[in-house]
Amino acid sequence: MQLPTSLPPAAANALPLLRTLTLFTIAGAAIASRLFSVVRFESIIHEFDPWFNFRATKYLVANDFYSFLDWFDDRTWYPLGRVTGGTLYPGLMVTSALIFHGLKALTLPVDIRNICVMLAPVFSGLTAYATYLFTREMKDHSAGLLAAAFIGIAPGYISRSVAGSYDNEAIAITLLMFTFYLWIKALKLGSAFWGALTALFYFYMVAAWGGYVFITNIIPLHALVLVIMGRYSSRLYVAYSSWYALGTLASMQIPFVGFLPIRSSEHMGALGVFGLLQLVGFAVYVRARVPSKQFKVLVVGSVGALVVLGVAGIVGLTVSGVIAPWTGRFYSLWDTGYAKIHIPIIASVSEHQPTAWPSFFFDTFMLIWLFPAGVYVVFQELRDEHLFVIIYGILASYFAGVMVRLMLTLTPIVCVCGAVALSNILDIYTNLEKPVEEEEEKKEEKEEASPLKKATTSLIEDEASILSLGSMSKKPLIGVYSNWARGIVLGMFTLYLYMFVQHCTWVTSNAYSSPSVVLASQMADGSQHIIDDFREAYYWLRKNTAEDAKVMSWWDYGYQIGGMADRTTLVDNNTWNNTHIATVGKAMSSREEVSYPILRKHDVDYILVIFGGLLGYSGDDINKFLWMVRIAEGIWPEEVKERDFFTARGEYRVDAEATPTMKNSLMYKMSYYRFADVFGRQPAIDRVRNQRIPSPMQDASAAPIELSSVEEAFTSENWIVRIYKVKELDPFGREHAAATAFESGKKKSGARGRTAPVGGHAKGRARVLRV
């Protein structure tokens, strides 16, 4: 089917060099396009989870590997603590630590923070190379290079791998593509060596990311489809068996994974296909040695019995509880209503929401429509490895549709398929060989009357048969006659490629390069203004509180408090204990009198809330408040009720019409405490919710918000972070509310010279209010 090449032989010799150069350039572009945040802000770790990974990496660098695996962290999940070493995927930290020690051995001391910040961009360069290798197996070098260029700058992958985004996914996608490439290679060659390499990279992937389950299921599925299609071969047998046996044993060495590969249902598919391949292999072996009639009896008897035994065994083990049921996150992929009912924590995470169509276009631009074209193109040839692309494509688009974060696994295959489709077009239209028109002379004689009309009618016939493209591909490939056709098609796609680069740069620059720890805003004159409230507040905590102070906040900020302020937290982003999170939710959503005993029981010294009302920062705690209520309601349905936070008309209000439950909740009070004072006689407007907070200066009937059991300790420049200190028990044994009322009454009666008795701690020094 290949057209004769129009390349001169001298140029063909230079191709490998050219390819290498191109690959390096692509890697350079991939790294460079991820540096927006470093250039704009500074070399800083982003968001939430990376802060934990960074903290763990620092621990690993400071201690040795075994103490890292045995690490019990008593500074999180107070008072429970967390067996951190046994509940994390160590791949990322070990990679950074190895790079750190390697560079140190080369006498190149690089700060561990810089290694962590730059790890994701560097690995994205490697991903481009892995994608090149993978696509080369599907089509050829040129498709490989195109795919590498696509994955290098595709926003869907950049979203998780900008500099500073130090998360498991940063290295996991690289490993994913390498594992897939090696699997294809092993399958093509039927080589146990390549199978073992696949297992090695699979092991690395298991060590790095929980998403390894995707590989665990897609490779068996590929093998199963091959068997069903009658494409069983000894190559498949060797590749699969070597990968499965070695890979499973290796993956069990990760403490967090342990015995899951032989117990959890997510891994059962791989085990089942392994068993099936043994059966099929055995059957093929016997058939070669036994006459066909006896063989039939033998197969029907033995295989049937084995299948029944196997199914009964799996069912029995599941019922008796030896095989664990599906884990929640994985289960919610299939039964999409499941998470909302049973696991509000999973449903509350924004990256677990379903994906609306704009995200697909946003993350892949034109590749999203070249993707189906590429799948169609590989269907034409349908070699064993092409089936893998098809299965991967369908599964990944389903998963990406269910969960936003899984766009990440879809992006590589979109790039591969898009590259296959586009390079197919480019192959044909860049080929300058002019085909010889065989029947031209005959036709011209016949159709001189109206060649154009004739051509149009037959063209319409052709378009009508568009759905029967399959039959088209059986005709011989001729090539392109007209240079006009070449020019138009190539020009059009060159423009699209140019726009692709523009799109990717724009998306990366505007959407994916914000560290979210530091915010940027535009001033009226267009200059950039940096809002650094988070670090200001965390640094205040670090410098002004006791080293063993316990800070309560909603779980989103747990990792940041641990990483930046180095203080003990109650809950963090590793949401393993729903009840503990619900406790925090209850403390936040209840009245002070209810919350205070909870705070005391958990030794809470400070409470940290995020408030965006002054600045218009929408990701604040009041907007997340309903999730706190919902999660708390899941545990204490009698004490916390979501309904009470909505007005009679079902609105979520924070202004004068807010429900009493809302107004009396600790979260509401801490968010809006002294908020109206800022505005003086102006109406106090919450800029996020565009509602008017009752202000005593404006409206005599509005009582100022009073806090009795906690006191304001710190509020950051733009009020984004507010920290409150929990008061000690009253020395006279009074209720806090009574004590506060008593003190304020005294002040009014004129006793100014005396300082009010405080509960045994210094007060006032901490208040930094810049309004």
Binding site: T336, I341, H342, P354, T355, A356, W357, P358, F360, F361, I368, W369, L370, F371, P372, A373, V375, Y376, F379, Q380, L382, I390, G393, I394, S397, Y398, A400, G401, V402, A421, N424, I425, I428, E439, E440, K443, A455, T456, S458, L459, D462, E463, G470, S473, K475, P476, I478, V480, Y481, S482, A485, I488, V489, M492, M499, H503, W506, N510, P637, R643
Partner: protein, 332 residues
Amino acid sequence: MRTIQFCVLLLAALFACVVSAAPERDSTYMDKLLKSSSINPGLIRLTDKNFGDVISAPRDYAVVVLLTAESPSMGCQLCRQFAPDYHLVAQSWSKEHPKSGDGLYFAVLDFVDGQRTFQSLGLKTAPNVWLYGPTVGENAGPAAPIVYEIHGVVDMPGSVARFIESHVPGVGITIYKPRDYSKIGQAVTGLVAIGLFIRYLYPILKPFFESRTLWAGISLVAILMFTSGHMFNNIRHTPYVAGNKEGGVSYVAPGFQQQYGFETQVVAVLYAFLAFGAISLSIKTPRIKDSTRQLLSVLTWATIIWCLFSALMFVFRMKNPGYPLSLPPMTK
């Protein structure tokens, strides 16, 4: 004569006093009711006549009453939705306590049987779940009922059970979901049907199953569906179109994280034609023998791709007004 009558009355009054000192209604009465007038297992069907008796004040048992209006003529959708969940809780309790209620009873009073009760209680809406706790014994509480909030609760049976557990001390309810035999039946029938299908029809339909075009078609449709936001519609139950403020119909949802059913279909069709364009350019046109026809075909498909891609970006800019890229002709 008068004195005798008086004495008798006095005696009767005394006797009544003695009797009412012990609980007037105890569990044995309820157990009897459970045997005589249960409709579903573990569920007592009340009427106007015995409702007052069941909830009368000195009682040593807890009783949960569902005040509902299930008859179709009442048109209470929620009542009919809620009934199976409530029955399940009652059934689960009676499964663990088969002979008697053991101090916790489930009852239902339908509006048809209890109009007077509804009136006297001043009830205007249904369904209501009221829990009357015991007023004597170690767990004694007030005689007034506790109201269960039905609205906005997910996982109904579990939430009802938790509600009861939290108000009646010492009660633990395990929900037993009855095995749905119809589903097993369906599965078996389905398996048999598939078996028969393979046995008899597969040889006829074999060309279809081995048709590459068919499988390619299925794969492409699946991919186009998923990448145009079908799962989002499925999970969020998005409306097909929505009305706007001017009273017209808006086809495209504002905002990047929102979508309507209509626009996803438009996008799917755009993707499909763009993909077909790319397929045609790479597979179809280079196989056309006639040069003029080939040029025309290339021009046609290139124009289609150009215009539709322009349209796609146009739709995308409606979702994301700040998006800078555009192609003519739809640049606005």
